[in-house]
Structure formats: C-alpha cells, structure tokens
C-alpha cells in the first residue's frame, strides 16, 4: 500500500500571489475563513514557516478520516477501502473555527495478505471535504467515491461473509487478531473484517485535528446469539494514535445484517483526560438484551 504521493495542481494564485517554489505556502496562508462573519479570522502568522510537509500530512489525515467515514457508511465488511495515494488538495486554516480540507485521493481495496503486487488492488477515486472543528472530534465529512465493485458482487460477498459468521462455533474470547506476527488465520478473516468496519466508525468519531488513529489489533471477540438474523459481536480493539503514540483500548459492539446500516456502540479508554468517549450511533434503536457486560 502506498502512502500519499501527491501531485499538486499548478501554483495557485492566492492573495499573496503565486510563489513558484512554494505554492503550498500560499494555500496555507489562504485568508478565506470557513464559516465566519466578515472581518473575523485571519491568516496564519506568516512568521511561522509551514511547509509542504505539513500540508501533505494534513491531506493524508483528511483522506484517512474521510475513508473511516466512507467505510462505515457503506456498511460492507467485505469491501473496505484503504488509502492508496493523495492526488491533490488544499486546506484552509481558521484559528478560531478549525481546519477545512478538500482532498482528492485514490483508494485500494483492503485485502491484507493479498497476493497482488502493490497497486494491483482495484483502484477507486474519492473526493472529500473534511472539516476538523477546533478541539472537537468527529470531523464533518462529505465524501464521494467511484465504485470499486459492482453492487451485486458486493452483496454476494457480504452475504458470504455473513454466512461464515453465522456458522462460527464458539469464537475464542481472548485472541490476538492479527497475531503478533501480523498473521490473520483465514477462518478468522470475517471476524476481523467486521471489527475493521466497526472500528472505522469509532475512529471517525474520535478523530480530531491533532489525533489520528490506526487499528492495531483485536484482543477479544465475543459473539452473541440474536433473536433475529443479525450478526452480533463484542470486540476489544487496540487503536494506535500517531502523535501521542498511545494505544487506546476500545470496547465495540456491532450489530450487522448485509445491506443494512451498521449499528455500533463503543467505549474507549481515555488516558490523559478523565472523560470517557462513549456514544451510540444515531438511529440505533435495537439493543440486544444480552448486552450486560458494558
């Protein structure tokens, strides 16, 4: 999987005029506040050298946040996307409001341990507008992506995954998925894929301008019987936050049925702050009665 390799558009003409050697600087110094009455909000302090690296990182983080949201909303554990390459983007920073990012990027189908060479995974293209509110999590995201796989095929794959999970006997309670060497047993893949999907929701919800998360490992799995045909799983996932390097354990509860929106409840341990992040996805009305260990 390739990190963001970025081809930026030709130098912008911003208020400061184009600067051929550092067009990105002009982007970051763009004066347009995101939502603010005229006169408020101002440019970044020109005395602070921001550079191409900062913008590139911001675009990548925005792309990743957009993908967390996209994957969750698509609700399809068999067709998950990961970032392939950031292609272009721009950012507006308003010190009072936050940071708005427009980004265009390509994606690959998520398939760990794929035998395909890098870049051979099916590529889709996405464009997103991501708004990181100052000091607040849950960035506002608008994202559209070209289709990676036909709807019918996706439904088939989801249904296959669904059947595999329904047939699981007594999933192990304390496991490491992947194992310490990055290996996921094929029989455990469906469990992982569903956890990845649930974690995408959580990661979107807790992402801020400065906190960015990756899914590191599952450390416990529990399947619950349901009265209807849904799949019901409890997970403990470990998320890795990049700037603090912290490992955040989260308990996630997912309820899924192919084609239906994913229902997620979660509870993450907060280390530095005493508040605990704990939310329910909007619209979730059905709560399995066996859920006593939360």
């Amino acid at each position: 999987m390739q990190p963001g390799r970025q081809r930026l558009p030709a130098p912008w003409s911003g208020p400061g005029g184009p600067r051929p050697t550092a067009p990105l600087l002009a982007l970051l110094l763009l004066l347009a506040p995101v939502v603010a009455p005229a006169g408020s909000g101002g440019p970044d302090d020109p005395g602070q050298p921001q550079d191409a690296g900062v913008l590139r990182r911001l675009l990548q983080q925005a792309a990743r946040a957009a993908l967390h949201f996209f994957n969750f909303r698509a609700g399809s554990p068999s067709v998950l996307r990961v970032l392939a390459e950031v292609q272009e983007g721009r950012a507006w920073i308003n010190p009072k409001e936050g940071c708005k990012v427009d980004v265009v990027f390509s994606t690959e189908r998520y398939n760990p341990e794929s035998l395909l060479q890098e870049g051979e995974g099916r590529l889709g293209k996405c464009s997103a507008r991501v708004f990181f509110k100052n000091q607040k999590p849950r960035p506002a995201i608008n994202v559209t992506c070209t289709r990676l796989i036909e709807k019918k095929k996706r439904q088939q794959e989801d249904y296959l995954l669904y059947k595999q999970m329904k047939q699981l006997k007594n999933p192990l309670e304390t496991v490491s998925i992947p194992d310490n060497h990055g290996h996921i047993d094929p029989s455990l893949r469906p469990i992982w894929d569903l956890a990845f999907l649930g974690s995408s929701y959580v990661m979107w919800e807790i992402t801020t301008q400065v906190s960015h998360y990756y899914l590191a490992q599952l450390t416990s799995v529990r399947q619950w019987k349901t009265n209807d045909d849904t799949i019901d799983f409890d997970y403990t996932v470990l998320l890795h936050e990049l700037s603090t390097q912290e490992i955040i354990p989260c308990r996630i509860h997912v309820v899924w049925y192919p084609g239906k929106p994913l229902k997620v409840k979660y509870h993450c341990q907060e280390l530095q702050t005493p508040e605990e992040a704990s939310r329910t996805e909007e619209g979730s009305a059905v709560v399995p009665t066996e859920l006593s260990n939360f």
Binding site: M1, Q2, P3, G4, R5, Q48, P49, Q50, D51, A52, G53, V54, R56, R57, R64, V82, L83, Y110, P112, E113, Q117, E118, G119, S176, P178, D179, N180, H181, G182, H183, Y214, A216, Q217, L238, H240, L242, S243, T244, Q245, E246, I247, L271, Q272
Partner: protein, 388 residues
C-alpha cells in the same frame, strides 16, 4: 550446538525464502513424570508442528526445553494447556544475540560483537562492529535499531542488514568501498528489556522497562531521552505516557550506553535510527521547526536514498525534517547526534503506511530489509564521498 545450527539454517534459508523469520520461541516445560514426557514426545513427533527438543528429556523433574516455530505457537500452547503441562517462555533475545555471534564467527576478519553496556534489567547491549581495520578511530557509521521495542521490523531489518554487510563485503563494490574508508557499528536491539517484554507480555510495548519512583507506570521513551532540547515539545513529563522523556537526559541506561560509546569514540560521521511505521525518511530537527544548517544537503541525500529504496519494490517514502514530516519530538536520537557533530543523521520509519502498522507480517521482512538496504547504502556512499 543443535540450536546454533538450527538458527543458522533459519537465517540462511530465510534469505532463500523461508517465510517465518522471527518469533520462534523456546518453551521451558515442567515435566513431572513419565506420562508427561510421553505427552511431550507426542508433540515433538507430530510432524506438522515442527517442534524440536532443544534438550532431550531424559529424566523427569527437570524442565525440558523445546523450540517452537512461530507458526506453531498457538497450537503448541493449546496442546500444552489441554494436557495440563506447565510451561514458561524463555528469554527471547537469545535469537538475535546468537545470530550476531554467528556473524562474528563466520566473518572473523570483518565483524566483532562488542558489548557496550547493560539494560535496566541487566541484559547485555551488543553491537556488531564491522571494520576492515586499517587505522585507529576510523570515521564511523552508527546504525541504531529497536529503540522502540514494538517496532519489530526494525530489529529484524537490522539483523538481516548485519549479515548482508558481512556477506557482501568484497562482493559488492559499494559496501566494499564504504568499509575500506569507514567502520560500521550496528546495534540491532537498542532496547532489549522492551523487546523481551513485547515477546512475552505485551506486543505493543514501546518504552524501556525502568521503574519510575512514585508512579506505578513503567518505562521512559528512549527516543525522548537524549540530550537535545530534552523535555521540550513533543515529549511528556507523565511517566504513564508513551512519550515520557524520563527524569533527566540519559536517565535510561540504554541511551547512556550509546551516548558514552559514541562520545568516547569521537569520530562518528553518520547516525541512522530505524523505526516503524509510516514509510518516512527524516532528518533533524524534531525538537523545533528551525531549519538545520545542513538541511539542504540532508534533504538531497534523503531523496536519493528514498528513490533507491523505491526502485526495489515501489515502496514510497516521504522525506523531510522530523518536526513537520511526522510530529514535534524533543530529546530524539538523531537530533542529539546532529547537534553533537554527526552531520549525516537520519531516521527511517519503515513499512508499512498503516494497514498492519507494528504488526507487519513476517513475509514482508525480507522485502523491507532489501529495499531499506538500498537506502542505507545510498546514504553511506554519500558519507564516504563527503567525509569531513
């Protein structure tokens, strides 16, 4: 002896394509009677798990050591539990230290294993010194790995690189000419206590394992503990934090051992620190956005190195100063090195870009090591041609 041969075969065949490289463990099993011995023999004789007796069980009431390949770990643990056999996993750094020993034994004219100190839990800190020997205190390169214990691709890449340096000397013109002019010191496990902890208790442990008086939290971040804007931005004074800088600079004995060695030597020209993950190649500074005086040259070299790296499998690295490429970080190794006269100071964040993160599959170890080698060579060639 069998152990050394086995590891030799392991390492040797890994270069030819054996998939699982690290993570084989030695289990010490308490056997109390003949019944338990026969259960154990059952395990060893089952071909598919590929478990070997390290010491054959002869009498009971003596623990038996078996070598378990990483692929079989879960299965063997389940078996032992189901049979009621008690076991303990023995110290894990055996493997890397043995391999270092083997390299020194296989290439006695080039390589020597040197002890530079001990860890907090009293484990030896070993470097491999590669020297073609002509002259004292020759200009030298320091390759640092495994300072953050969970970044397993770092230690793995380092030990692969060690054998590569040794085998390619007098075969590959580049490394040969590099070694004719400079010595290379390679520290594959800069944080041995953390490394053992990741193999026995917590795969995602990062820091050292030192005690923090007045706190129940263990360890300091050894890459925030160097004397370069110590306790500045991008580090924490909370012992429970993953980026806790420690009570003072060089408080971590693992860091102090390296600092003392390098200062005593006095002629290092290059310091490279291997980490994971994110696929980045960075140069100072982490502690400030200020531009390093040599930033332009370092940037050029880093870009050439990233290009060479990408030429192997297409893996793309981003290049830039630490602070703006990844995040502010004070007290880091390469900042210290640079501010102490070691101009060519670089950090590699190895594979991947986030899909697996720290849990990089074993089948990516060799591809990672091979591409990284091209990057390392590019840097060392530049150092060779630009000694100061």
């Amino acid at each position: 002896m069998r152990w050394i041969l086995f590891i030799g075969a392991l390492i040797g065949s890994s270069i030819c394509g054996r998939e699982k490289f690290f993570g084989d463990q030695v289990f010490r099993i308490n056997v109390r009677n003949g019944d338990e011995i026969s259960k154990l023999s059952q395990l060893v004789n089952s071909n598919n798990l590929k478990v070997n007796f390290w010491k054959s069980p002869s009498t009971f009431n003596r623990p038996v050591d078996v070598l378990v390949p990483s692929v079989s770990l879960q299965a063997v643990k389940s078996f032992l539990r189901s049979q009621g056999l008690e076991y303990a996993v023995t110290i894990e750094d055996l493997q890397i230290y043995h391999e270092m020993d083997n390299i020194a034994a296989d290439f006695p004219d080039l390589a020597r294993r040197v002890k530079i100190g001990r860890s907090f839990e009293n484990r030896p800190m070993y470097v491999l010194k590669f020297s073609t020997g002509k002259g004292a205190r020759r200009p030298a390169v320091w390759l640092n790995a495994g300072i953050h214990s969970r970044e397993w691709i770092s230690q793995a890449t380092a030990i692969w690189t060690a054998r590569k340096i040794a085998s390619d000397y007098q075969r590959d013109p580049a490394i040969t000419s590099i070694l004719e002019k400079m010595d290379i010191f390679l520290l594959p496990v800069a944080n041995p206590d953390g490394y053992v902890y990741t193999q026995t208790q917590n795969r995602l442990w990062r820091k050292t394992r030192s005690r923090n008086p007045g706190s129940s939290c263990i360890g300091a971040d050894p890459n925030r503990n160097w004397n370069a804007s110590f306790a500045g931005k991008g580090a924490s004074d909370n012992p429970c934090s993953e980026v806790y800088h420690g009570p003072h600079a060089n408080s971590e004995v693992e860091v102090k051992s390296v600092v003392d060695f390098i200062q005593k030597h006095g002629n290092f020209k290059c310091f490279i620190d291997l980490h994971s993950y994110s696929q980045l190649l960075m140069y100072p500074y982490g502690y400030s956005v200020k531009k390093a005086p040599d930033a332009e040259e370092l940037d050029k070299v880093a870009r050439r190195a990233a290009k060479a790296l990408a030429s192997v499998s297409g893996t793309e690295y981003q290049v830039g100063p630490t602070c703006t490429t990844v995040y502010p970080a004070s007290g880091s190794s390469i900042d210290w090195a640079y501010d102490n006269g070691i101009k060519f100071a670089f950090t590699f964040e190895l594979r991947d870009a986030g899909t697996y993160g720290f849990l990089l599959p074993a089948n990516q170890i060799i591809p990672t090591a091979e591409e990284t080698w091209m990057g390392l060579k590019t840097i060392m060639e530049h150092v060779r041609d630009n000694l100061y």
